[in-house]
């Protein structure tokens, strides 16, 4: 006689469990971070207090957090859409860069003289196209050859990274500000291609666009046939075939949407923050962080907004704290916390997906 502890898959959805697990993960991560901070000689409570104050209570802090959240919302969506289907597009980072490249090109060449709405619109649309194009190879290979999209999207990310760097640092391209010979910089977009700022903060209208996209994605997933098909293919491909749904087409559509979202993230950064193709300002791991956001938010579009704001706040507060007098809090704390939160969240996900079953059995049963 032996005891068998097994994991049984759960099918019922529990809102409570879905919400509590991430919260507990955050708590666990903060405890873990506290340990590291103490070991290095910092007072965790002071640090955390400072983080929250700077991140969320001051006017500049809050708006800065929201500003950083904008691309995170979009990359979060970019990860969530395919991940729900067990398609792992981890190239949002690269698709973001391509979106920035395409978006800034459109802004520099097409937007001058137009009304702002059209100008910015051109930038965003171009960005979405750029991102989608960058996801296309992975989509096609996966759908028709079964090649792992993980590897293809990851490889393309680095190609995109170096391409972007080349455009600004390695050449005198269209994107390059010709007058900045010593400190390479991107050429500034015309005013008509820039998001307006909200009063004297750094927050721009891109936030509204991002929130709008959240709603669009939510509607897409829940109310359209496209979203319905994606749910089916991700959950039970055989049932999809039986229902006449084309599995390969659905895969391609999902990955293209994902790429477009990543591209949009790049475009909003161009139109809202840097007003130029700015590799230094873009290489922040926003694409990878988006995956963290999506995972913590359990791939729910609205939860993504909350998580993106939270993580955005952590990040911007971390940066701001560096300049404050007093306790010299290292900016890496926020990065560490982010990683720790995700690790705890992944571990905690087990309890949402599986149920612990303890069986008294005398053998392993194979049907």
């Amino acid at each position: 006689m032996s005891f068998q502890i097994g994991l049984e898959r759960r099918y019922e959805r529990s809102w409570l469990r879905n919400a509590v697990t991430p919260l507990l993960s955050v708590f666990g991560a903060f405890v873990c971070g506290a340990i590291f901070l103490s070991v290095e000689g910092f007072n965790p409570l002071t640090v955390y207090k400072a983080l929250f104050e700077v991140g969320f209570t001051t006017r500049f802090g809050l708006t800065d957090s929201l500003t950083v959240a904008v691309p995170l919302i979009l990359t979060g969506l970019a990860a969530a859409v395919p991940f729900r289907m067990n398609l792992f597009n981890i190239g949002a980072e690269g698709q973001l860069y391509l979106g920035a490249i395409f978006g800034s090109w459109a802004g520099l060449t097409l937007a001058d003289g137009m009304p702002t709405i059209i100008g910015v619109g051109i930038v965003l649309v171009a960005g979405a196209i750029g991102g989608a194009l960058w996801a296309l190879p992975a989509a096609v290979f996966k759908a028709y050859y079964g090649t792992s999209e993980i590897i293809t999207t990851l490889m393309l990310t680095f190609v995109a990274l170096f391409l972007m760097r080349y455009l600004i640092f390695g050449s005198m391209s269209l994107w390059r500000d010709k007058e900045s010979a010593n400190f390479p910089q991107g050429r500034k977009l015309p005013p008509s291609a820039r998001f307006e700022l909200w009063s004297d903060t750094r927050l721009h209208w891109g936030l509204i666009v991002a929130l709008g996209i959240v709603v669009v994605v939510w509607v897409l997933l829940r109310f359209t046939s496209i979203g319905f098909n994606m749910n089916v293919v991700g959950s039970a491909p055989e049932a999809a075939r039986y229902a006449g749904i084309s599995v390969s087409r659905t895969i391609i559509i999902a990955l293209l949407i994902s790429g477009a979202l990543g591209g949009l993230a790049g475009a909003t950064e161009v139109a809202g923050r840097a007003y130029a193709l700015d590799p230094n300002g873009l290489e922040l791991g926003l694409g990878f962080t988006g995956i963290v956001v999506a995972s913590l938010a359990r791939y729910n579009p609205f939860a993504i907004v909350v998580v993106a704001t939270f993580l955005g706040g952590l990040r911007s507060a971390g940066l701001a704290l560096q300049g404050l007098p007093g306790e010299r809090v290292p900016v890496e704390v926020s990065l560490m916390l982010q990683g720790a939160i995700l690790l705890f969240a992944i571990g905690g996900e087990v309890f949402s997906t599986y149920r612990l079953s303890i069986e008294r059995s005398s053998a392993e049963v194979t049907a």
């Binding site: 099918y11 496209i226 319905f228 749910n231 089916v232 039970a236 055989e238 229902a243």
Partner: protein, 515 residues
Amino acid sequence: MASPELPGLEKSSSPGQVAAIAADNVTKRFPGVLANDSVSFTVYPGEVHTILGENGAGKSTLAAMLCGLYQPDVGQISRNGVPVRLRSPREGLANGIGMVHQHFRLVDRFTVSENVILGDPDQPRLLRPSEIHERVAAIGDQFGLPVNPRAVIADLTVGERQRVEIVKMLYRGADVLLLDEPTAVLTPKEVEALFETVRTMTAQGKALVFISHKLREVMEVSDRVTVMRAGAVTGEIATADTSERHLAELMVGRPVETEVRRGVSTGAVALEAQGLTVIEGGQAVVDNATLIVRRGEIVGIAGVAGNGQRPLARALAGIVAPEEGSIEIHGTDVTGKGPLAARAEGLAFVPEDRLGTGLVPGLSITDNMILTRKRSFFVDRRTARAEAAQAIDEYEIKTPGTEATAGVLSGGNSQKVLIARELGSAGEDQVIILSSPTRGLDIGAAEFVRGLLHEARLRGAAILVISEDLDEVRSLSDQLVVLYRGGIALSGPTDDLALEDIGLAMAGAQNEKES
């Protein structure tokens, strides 16, 4: 229930010889079913003893206990006269007992030799390939199982892979081999080769246990047969003292318990399949099958699982395109046009794989209702929700609500949802195909489903039921067809077919009189 003593029972070995392996009044229970009820079984070195029975008879369970996959709840397993407790297949193998399953346990990318020695505790840390190859080849030659030790599994035919499985067991020192439905996947030529191998093995003192439902082969290769039905042994006899007919009777004969219902057909042909052939893995899993289902009648397809039921259903539903042959629904040709085309002509399909093919476990009941409907850009949940609510009411489905995910429903309830969706979608033009519609359902739910089908029949629908439950098929169908090895072995009005003939057809034996 003790096994009845049949006259003329003779052991094919000399008295005093010890059984290579024996089960002594073993009983095994699973939740809800008594799989083996006080079953006894012996096999001696040098003999072939077959366990014969339909699906659910308990043969796989018995075999599993003999090799160590399960342990008996009551009773004893003995090896060479000594009681043993086999806690895992590995322990079984350590005791010289090896089982070759229907689904092979082989790594496709590995070579034959690599598969043979995987997990072998007697191998040295640093392998000696040439020694291994030599030994594998030697065993192959010794037992008439020619194998190329360096061949990669992915390149081998099914018959060759089976040989590898057997060599694997022999290499590890198995003296008792259990073969689970070994001929199910073989061509007739390969079957002959297997039987040669069997004779070679027994000549060298191995004890062989066959698990099968195929009478002809059983008669050809076994020394003794134990027939099982509903978890108990109905007879144990030497093949020399019995006939196919006798065995068939032991296998299927029992009183019909369910109420017999018949319909009145209008005669109009609703579904017609001509010369249907489906190829899977190079073999014809559906072989020149011709079927006609008329409006207002139920045609039942009987047969032991694994004889082509699944490919046939999938071909008729349009999921798989047949290699040859045609399918017409209400006179319209839908061959190879896909499931949507078939649906458009009124086809409904309830697959045996409820969660996974029929229903999506992660979606709500409402969403599952939408699955097979035509969808425009926006998904219309309102209508579907109303339909779901109505179905829950009408079919008495136990569920928290229309938005509950299909995966939480019990087997019976998810089947009800599936049937509600399929039956509800069309009118008298319906052609409904169901695979194993009542498997796993409790008596009440099963009866409910049968009642539904009867009502649909009375409404004029044409229904095709593929089922392993012979009782059910016989009680419900107007016409009965027996499927064997992908082909139609027997067909005719249910009431005109004798039970023994059905049993023989299911087991692949040809009957003297034509049907």
